[in-house]
């Protein structure tokens, strides 16, 4: 099957600034795809290139097999939900939602029906007569969605659509967007700087730094096997420890504070080379042993430097022998498990299978 969206070697230059560097990407029909990265990484430029608001300096873009070179934004099978929502303030909710139908050949009553259906789909039935400026942030977001989906585009582009909402509403909209995407079966491309949002919502995520795709993977691979320490650091929390690779074939290494280990080739997604390297380990992949608890797995002695209590979890900063930087360990606050005190001596239990080797 050919990809719905096919980007090949897209470059974008602004005067002396290289915004997109040789981006190649294939996105399948019906996929929920995210472009994730810090601000200024080129993710919005890439989205606007697909929408037709920016022309690539070179490279090709095909949507559903059609070359988009020279095709203006108003002739592309894409619709966009803008970061500011761009609700037309002088029009009512139904005029906003029906705006894209202005030129369609539908009869007036058919248009009204599809506006009502679109509003129903986003949970705004009965809001059609409201003035646009009388809406709350979450409602504006829904109007923007209905307005973009009413034209049944092949691709829906979402430019940080949830960044203006508060936490509760954002979480609610995240699951609604997912549900909506499954329901309509349209390809969604989401731009976000929120790594959690990208992991929750997407089938696949492209992590971008400095105009380049650093890693393109499904959320689980992205979290478990980041290809570089930069990606590992950007997605969630990761501890980094200096290490020395002794044997690049068998992948045996000596990790500061943890000692000698042997890892699986899968745990070195960017390959292994003899010499200095880094290993990464997630906070929840280690655990603190409490007084009287027997040793399990591999074990290291540690002292608690700081802690942060989150209710469901407690995050500890602990220092281990031979490592200057404290490492972060998260513990679930289950029944019978005490919250440890700062300064307390403890043991860290860990598993070599949870290490990731970075050669960068």
């Amino acid at each position: 099957m050919t990809a719905l969206i096919d980007l090949k070697n897209i470059n974008k230059y602004y005067a002396d600034y290289h915004a997109l560097r040789d981006v190649s990407l294939e996105i399948a029909q019906g996929e929920f795809f995210s472009l994730l990265g810090p601000s200024g990484c080129g993710k919005t430029t890439l989205l606007r290139t697909i929408a037709g608001f920016e022309a690539p300096s070179d490279g090709t873009l095909h949507i559903a097999g059609v070359d988009m070179n020279g095709v203006p934004a108003n002739a592309r099978p894409t619709n966009m939900v803008f970061q500011s929502y761009a609700i037309f303030p002088h029009l009512s909710v139904s005029e906003n939602v029906g705006f894209g139908l202005r030129k369609s050949a539908l009869s007036a009553s058919d248009k009204m029906n599809s506006v009502e259906q679109a509003l129903e789909m986003v949970g705004l039935d009965g809001f059609g007569g409201r003035a646009a400026h009388a809406l709350s942030g979450g409602q504006r977001q829904r109007v923007a969605l209905a307005r973009a989906l009413i034209l049944k585009p092949k691709v829906l582009l979402l430019d940080e659509p949830l960044s203006a909402l508060d936490k509760k509403l954002r979480e609610q909209m995240q699951s609604e967007l997912r549900r909506l995407q499954r329901q309509v079966g349209i390809t969604f491309i989401l731009v976000t700087h929120d790594q959690e949002e990208a992991l929750i919502m997407s089938d696949r995520v492209a992590v971008m730094f400095d105009g380049e795709i650093a890693q393109l993977a499904d959320p689980q691979t992205l979290y478990k096997r980041p290809v570089s320490s930069k990606v590992g650091d950007f997605i969630g929390v990761m501890n980094f420890l200096p290490a020395t690779v002794d044997n690049a074939q068998k992948i045996t290494l000596d990790v500061a504070g943890l000692g000698p280990v042997t890892i699986d080739p899968e745990q070195a997604p960017s390959g292994a080379q003899t010499g200095a390297a880094q290993i990464g380990i997630r906070p929840e992949m280690m655990s603190l042993l409490f007084d009287g608890e027997p040793d399990r797995g591999q074990m290291t002695h540690a002292t608690i430097k700081d802690r942060a209590y989150y209710g469901d979890m407690t995050y500890y900063d602990v220092s281990i022998k031979d490592v200057a930087q404290p490492i972060t360990i998260s513990m679930k606050n289950i029944i019978g498990r005490p919250v440890l005190e700062i300064g307390q001596a403890t043991r860290v239990s860990w598993d070599a299978r949870s290490l990731v080797l970075f050669s960068d």
Partner: protein
């Protein structure tokens, strides 16, 4: 602090007392402009329509003011839209040059225009006054329209294009309705400026005087002064009404775009 406040109050009195005296003497039953007042009359107002030269000057002024308002607002729309949406070489100096007449002494503008027009061999008349007025009104229009165009979220236009509209229909359906309060405000302000303007009109008007030029010529006849006062009262009242409407439209425009007021002309 106290003396400063006192000074400010005196200053305001000095500034506005003459305007306040205008209606007082316009309704006073005496040809001499002096206190004490002798009695109430509306005679000076009823005399107004009976002076044909006055009626002609009013018609002339209205004609000039309407055309000036339309032309300078149209130019203002083009300039502010270009300034808000596009970058082009020498943008800053060009925008600066357009705004210069705002601070240029009118007498300089008037004299230099007169010299050029005479050199070109053009005869003076309503159109030469309009040219002068458009020159001084356009910067005001740009000042008003600029903030409206700058405050417009560019993604609104992009959203309309994304939904299938052309550049022109986007401008007609989205941009124009959203800046229309500022357009009305610019029309009213340039109309008012043109209607009241004296120096340029005086130099460029030829044989058909505008209202301010006619009023000035009548000051030589003491018997006409109460009539001038009456006319002045009507003009002040009319200007105030127009400016208030202009300000209301400007504020409505800001509200419509969902923005905070950052100060205007009033």
């Amino acid at each position: 602090m106290k003396s400063l406040r006192f000074y400010a109050i005196l200053y305001l009195i000095f500034l506005y007392a003459p305007i306040a005296l205008l209606p007082v003497f316009a309704f006073n039953d005496a040809t001499i402009i002096a206190f004490p007042l002798t009695g109430f009359t509306t005679q000076w107002f009823t005399e107004l329509p009976q002076i044909p030269a006055l009626i002609d000057s009013v018609k002339n002024s209205l004609y000039i003011a309407v055309i000036t308002a339309l032309l300078s607002t149209l130019l203002g729309i083009c300039a502010s839209r270009a300034a808000a949406k596009y970058t082009f070489p020498l943008k800053k100096p060009i925008m600066g040059f357009i705004m210069v007449p705002l601070v240029l002494p009118e007498i300089i503008v008037a004299v230099s225009l007169l010299v050029i027009l005479l050199q070109l061999g053009l005869s003076l008349g309503a159109w030469t006054v309009i040219m002068g007025h458009v020159l001084i009104c356009t910067p005001f229009c740009i000042a008003i329209l600029n903030s409206a165009f700058q405050n417009l979220d560019p993604s609104l236009e992009e959203a309309a294009i994304d939904l299938g509209e052309s550049t022109w229909s986007t401008f007609r359906l989205i941009t124009l309705p959203l800046v229309s309060p500022a357009i009305i405000s610019a029309l009213l302000i340039s109309f008012t400026i043109s209607l009241d303007e004296f120096i340029i009109a005086f130099f460029l008007t030829g044989t058909e005087p505008t209202l301010p030029v006619y009023l000035w010529s009548q000051l030589r006849f003491p018997a006409r002064i109460p009539v001038v006062m009456a006319l002045g009262t009507i003009l002040v009242a009319g200007s105030v009404v127009l400016l208030i409407i202009a300000e209301i439209m400007r504020r409505r425009g800001l509200r419509r775009a969902g923005l905070k007021d950052s100060g205007g002309f009033l």
